[in-house]
Symmetry: D2
Subunit: 163 residues, 4 copies
Amino acid sequence: MNNFRELSRKKLKQRGVQIDDIVALVYELQKDFCPTLAKETCLQAVNDVLEKREVAFAILTGIELDLGAENNQLNEINDVIKDDYSLYGIDEILALSIVNVHGSIALTNFGFLDKTKPGIIGNLEEEGKQKDKCHTFLDDIVCAIVSSAASKVAHDYENKKVL
Amino acid sequence: MNNFRELSRKKLKQRGVQIDDIVALVYELQKDFCPTLAKETCLQAVNDVLEKREVAFAILTGIELDLGAENNQLNEINDVIKDDYSLYGIDEILALSIVNVHGSIALTNFGFLDKTKPGIIGNLEEEGKQKDKCHTFLDDIVCAIVSSAASKVAHDYENKKVL
Amino acid sequence: MNNFRELSRKKLKQRGVQIDDIVALVYELQKDFCPTLAKETCLQAVNDVLEKREVAFAILTGIELDLGAENNQLNEINDVIKDDYSLYGIDEILALSIVNVHGSIALTNFGFLDKTKPGIIGNLEEEGKQKDKCHTFLDDIVCAIVSSAASKVAHDYENKKVL
Amino acid sequence: MNNFRELSRKKLKQRGVQIDDIVALVYELQKDFCPTLAKETCLQAVNDVLEKREVAFAILTGIELDLGAENNQLNEINDVIKDDYSLYGIDEILALSIVNVHGSIALTNFGFLDKTKPGIIGNLEEEGKQKDKCHTFLDDIVCAIVSSAASKVAHDYENKKVL
């Protein structure tokens, strides 16, 4: 299983997603709510999210489908995925497997990021519009990792404050 | 059951939410995606959402808890609800019972509305901060109705286009 | 879109799932709660479920992954899917995109079917254990269609009774 | 916050749910999958589940609504809750706030327990049928704690095996 965690990190990198890009968005989301927040804390939260089994499997499965569509190897749904058809919906569902295990703050952050597409999320979406590229699943997965890590930061911050 | 649908509409009104306020937000959310969208279509979608059994029960249960907290009739969790404690999370969960049955577009819209709080949603939140008022559940429920109706509009629009 | 609905039905059949098998399980699940239930009513409910966009896309995406694993065309996760690894979890998540839009009765029925595996669901699981076959996603998808149709039957039955 | 965790445990006990009853069901669910499983391990998993903020709040909110219905203090929905109306659905939704954060095994176990009602779950349901008792939310909450702890046991068991 350690293996899958390593593989999912490697795959994110291969597809153009740096851990630093993710950490930057977590920091942006939470800095107003947690005034003393350090980037280091956000990095730790991202690492915690990536440590979960479901997260590794969601990343690997989503990128698998992106790659399949990119290389025109899928059947009936190839173009639906490649063109990021707005009512496809399975990309958001896969990302929810990450978000769900991180509670309701993760969920509302996810919807916000998915609509506003800041930083790396918008970049992935733009790149995915190129003819030979597909990031239909990956951009939602990154939204999910960011929003889950942000939720972790919020909960840990509160725990320290009130315990 | 018709009865509960009527009661849930009446209760929304009693708590300061007009159907027109909801329709206005649905229109705002979808007008850029559906260029020929009419307000009438948004109203129909809101009515369809309010026709569902789960929606009526979620509205009545949420407002019940808001009222209980407002009147200091709840036990251990009275202040958590009255103060709209940000990590409470049960308000979002109840709203999700509405959102879930309307698919993944409803879900991402919900998160967006919950963070940006446009129109009546922001008004409810402001009013809820007054000492004798509690809209902890209601503002999330309105987010859920708006985002679900917006999802319905998007799906119906697409159906007409491509069938 | 009509096209995708047709394609998803065709694909179910190609993979060994007959509509009659699904209808039989819906009837079994609901007959004790709805004493006058007819098979015809169950068939209508199954057809209604299969009419939904999310359902067609979930079916096509899940079978795509099963086929990919069966033909050893996937990358890192090929064996996880092919061996139906019990902690993979993405198969249940994909099925939930069907279940979620059908309310909480659909959800509890889904868990029950997934554990007890009656009829065609158990057959698919058995067949999937063969070396050259993979039904990791398909058995969960069938659970989801059955439980969603059963939920529809329950709600429609109640509507007729109490309206 | 520690306070709410303590309060939720106390409240469970007041309403007739012993930690031992929960542990017994977790053991029953997992003993076939984890042959060397000890009761002690199940107890630890239950404690871990009860340590989560969302879980404490879901318990306190659900019991609040049960008590309100029991004492006829709720408005429109008092009888829907008191009679445990099968299509109410909000009781399952509240329980899902516990289940969701524990992954997809928790979810399928939840549906199974909710249909089969073993041990304390069935006892609560029976007791709830008495005229002056209401356990509409509590029986689902107990299902959720058991299934979440069972999922934790499964994941931890696997982690030890394959790391």
